[in-house]
Amino acid sequence: MNYLLFAPEFTLTAVAFAVLGVDLFLPRDKKGYLPALSVVGLIGVFVLSLRYLWGRDTDLYDGLFLIDNFSLFFKAFFLVLGVMVVLSSVDYVKKHLSRPGEYYGILIFSILAMMLMAASGELLTAYISLELLSFSLYVLVSYGRHGLKPSEAGVKYILLGAFASALLLYGISQVYGMLGTTRFDEIHAALLLEGTPLNPAVLVGLVLIIAGLGFKVAVVPFHMWAPDVYEGAPTPVTAYLAVGSKAAAFALILRLFSQAFMPAFDDWQIILVILAALTMTVGNLVAMAQQNIKRMLAYSSIGQVGYLLMGVAALSPLASNGVILHLVGYGGTNLLAFMCVIVFYNATNKEEIADFAGLADRSPFVAMAMSAALLSLAGLPFFAGFTTKFYLFTAAADGGLLWLVGLAITNSLISLYYYMMVMKQMYMVPADDNTPLNVSMFSCGVLGMLLAGVIIIGVYPGPLVNAIQAATKAILP
């Protein structure tokens, strides 16, 4: 067995321990080296992954881990995401959080967990990776110092997360009990052998797995935890939760449904279709009533999960491309939106939507970046959101779900309304206090990078789409 194939994961673990270790010896005023070390480490692993894993198609530990283009793509995506989250945390951590060492260390562990999730080729490995991710996030969510909200968020997330894990585990045991295996390819073969109709016991297991994963990505009706947790967590963690953990869960979902449960397509498609319709509608309708920007973004991301589920429900190579592309586009956009919230919170300590009044005068650049993010989330042209949503909707329509696409388009319209409400605050309502916003050059730089990314994906998605097609080929030849 070639352990070199596992080098990125080993190295990343070392980086995480290095951050935790170095933290012990750094004096209080030198803690600024920690994010720098994290970023260097993450970029190093990024280069290493691309260098050693490019174009490989093999497995490790008898198929527990799959080394293919799909896992490589997500590895790269998560590492870039990690770099962006670390960069957007720098100012926030300095101002609002204590113990930066553990913060960055645990963040890196969670990235490791996501990489493992995308690469796992077997149910229990996937479960363990998911738990590593969840435990890291439990800590990060309750990292805030002030008031009851962080604790409330933490407790809620732990309790509901544990419940979801139990469901997932029960579903896995059900599948193992009936089919006698937990490896994806063997499940696939077993299902083909059994033929239709699907054994009801397997179906129960499948439904429980869907419910368990549904909790993790906040699918309606398993979404109740999301708004509270999003509101209570430190904002960079919220961003990470909204983008990273969702992307990882969808990577797992894509692999699971295409490589393991594809023969039972007719049985689970209807479940996902109903969940998708519910999720996008509820998410977008409730988002309209929100006063807090983080809660609003939480509900809006629930809506986005609905679109993504729609893509999974129409599973085909085209739809898989669409889901991955939308994950990337939505991820970049959401990071940009949250980065604006972070910058604003750092300067004012406020995060209600009404507090954004007059932002266009106080800081035109932040207002512009925020507008770009909101319009991209709504799916307007020239931004990532349009291109990726268009691809996703096209793919779903190609899969025969034209009516669901109609519903999704209607939902996009609804979403534009509440995004516009934020823009109205920024551009049309005068501010109470008109002092310019104090934004560091560093934060401006991060904002600029994210903004450029959102526009580039929107205008010229060609290279990204090519990479994604290569990734999809690994799971859906």
């Binding site: 042209p381 291109t387 096209t394 329509a397 109609g406 388009i409 516009m420 049309m428 789409v465």
Partner: protein, 498 residues
């Protein structure tokens, strides 16, 4: 060349956003950009009119980048034919007028001119896109500047109006997007040229449904009764320049889409449902005209008259059913001409209303009177625009309305007869309005008002010239339109023939 025409205003907007600070510089720069843009558009129009190699059914000045998003076969594909070239010219002309009419804007100058230029790029892009996705992108892009321009620089219930405009148009876009996707999965391309006359193709939705989806999207924009209610609000509360752009070119996106997409792609469906179009058209024409008579706000009055006039466009389109298999090109040409002339005429009217309002500070008609004594140039301009609007021979309005009526009378005699009656109402409200605002005794509180300045008169003069030239020598535009419509007429005859 087309890329330059489309993206020049956008580039100008970027320069304004990033480089220019001084308000005076910004105004001059924006004006310069639109002048260059107009020059380019005129050049394109002249080249199009004179080139010998131009053939019926071909797109000219095509620019294609095939590998834009190869996975979905989405291409960057621009081109013009006889239908779009005059509309590009119209956009550039009114874009320049809009900028010249806003030189006195003081509030947030930088953003204002930036949005105005972005708007121009979006509208031009709609007219020259030959890829449905690109078309849709420009179609949506136009919403943003409009929303901001109305809700920041407007008056009255500006935020309500802007939101209403946004919601109506987005609803239309939703229909269009579903239609576009249905087309893509049936035919496998977004190429508008390849999608012309796909009556025979096997579609995943019934062809009638796709036709209805596309028609609904464009009907909102045109606007057609009963989805017209956003228009009076948006017009009344928008700043002058935006009203000019809205009435002058944005409504034409609806008419253009109807002819190119709805009719061009589904000639058979268009003939089947032509009676619906005709009925909706005559309701728009008459309802618009009757409601206009009752308006007391100068801008609202012209806004409602637009609904009536855009009804003629739809009426012209309804003539596609033809008589006994023979479809004449007169009705469609009339519809296209009506779009062009309405753009210049109503653009001019809104421009002048803006000037009157700037000076008299009121748009309430009963409060005005005798203004001709103080502002003779504006009064003359208003009279010309008004007479053109009611279709006086010698002006462009006459030509287009005559063509529409000629084209539709043999097909829908009774409906056309009803619509012709609206001319009488139009004459009534236009003349009554001009009389109440400009003639009669001069009210004492207007005694100190002045006439236009030279800068204000430039766009006015340009539009008056356009109205007169087309009125006296309509072939300068109608030939181009006719040639562009030829392929559509041919496919209509093919479908409707025995």
């Amino acid at each position: 060349m087309l890329s330059a025409i489309v993206f020049l205003p956008l580039a100008g907007a970027m320069v304004i956003l990033l480089l220019l600070k001084d308000a005076r510089q910004i105004r001059l720069f924006a004006a310069a950009v639109t002048v260059v843009e107009l020059a380019l558009a005129v050049a394109a129009f002249v080249i199009f009119r004179t080139e010998d190699y131009r053939r019926v059914g071909d797109m000219e000045m095509v620019e294609v980048y095939r590998d834009w998003i190869p996975a979905l076969n989405i291409q960057y594909h621009l081109g013009v034919d006889g239908l779009s070239t005059p509309l590009v010219l119209l956009t550039a002309l009114l874009g320049m007028c809009a900028v010249f009419a806003s030189l006195h804007v003081q509030l947030r100058v930088k953003e204002y001119f930036m949005w105005l230029l972005v708007l121009q790029t979006a509208v031009t892009g709609v007219f020259v896109s030959l890829d449905l996705v690109l078309f849709f992108i420009f179609w949506e892009l136009e919403l943003l500047p409009m929303y901001f321009l109305i809700s920041i620089w407007g008056s009255g219930r500006k935020e309500y109006s802007a939101m209403k405009f946004l919601i109506f148009t987005l609803l239309g876009s939703a229909f269009m997007l579903v239609g576009i996707l249905a087309l893509y999965f049936s035919v496998g391309t977004f190429n508008i040229v390849e999608l012309q006359n796909i009556e025979g193709a096997q579609l995943i939705l019934p062809a009638g449904t796709v036709f209805a989806l596309l028609f609904a999207a464009f009907a909102v924009k045109l606007p057609v009764w009963p989805v017209h209610t956003w228009l009076p609000d948006a017009h009344t509360d928008a700043p002058t320049a935006v009203s000019v752009m809205l009435a002058g070119v944005l409504l034409k996106m609806g008419g253009y889409g109807m002819i190119r997409m709805a009719v061009g792609m589904f000639p058979g469906r268009a003939q089947e449902y032509a009676w619906v179009l005709a009925v909706l058209a005559v309701i728009s024409v008459l309802y618009g005209a009757v409601v206009t008579v009752r308006q007391t706000d100068l801008k609202r009055l012209i806004a409602f008259s637009s609904i009536s006039h855009m009804g003629y466009v739809l009426l012209g389109i309804a003539s596609v059913v033809g008589v006994g298999g023979a479809v004449s090109s007169v009705g469609l040409t009339g519809a296209a001409m009506q779009m062009f002339t309405h753009g210049t005429i109503t653009g001019l009217l809104f421009l002048l209303v803006g000037l009157v309002y700037d000076k008299a500070h009121t748009r309430h008609i009963p409060d005005m009177g005798g203004l001709a004594a103080r502002m003779p140039i504006i009064a003359v301009g208003f009279l010309i625009a008004g007479l053109a609007s009611l279709g006086l021979p010698g002006t462009s309005g006459f030509v287009s309305e005559l063509l529409v009526f000629l084209g539709t009378f043999e097909v829908w005699s009774w409906i056309t007869a009803l619509a012709v009656f609206a001319i009488v109402i139009t004459a009534g409200y236009i003349l009554w309005m001009v009389q109440r605002v400009f003639f009669g005794p001069l009210l004492p509180r207007f005694a100190s008002l002045g006439d236009t300045t030279v800068v204000e008169a430039v766009p006015m003069a340009l539009l008056v010239i356009a109205i007169m030239v087309v009125g006296v020598y309509p072939a300068i535009v109608s030939d181009v339109f006719k040639q562009g419509l030829e392929p559509i007429i041919q496919s209509l005859q093919q479908v409707g023939g025995p």
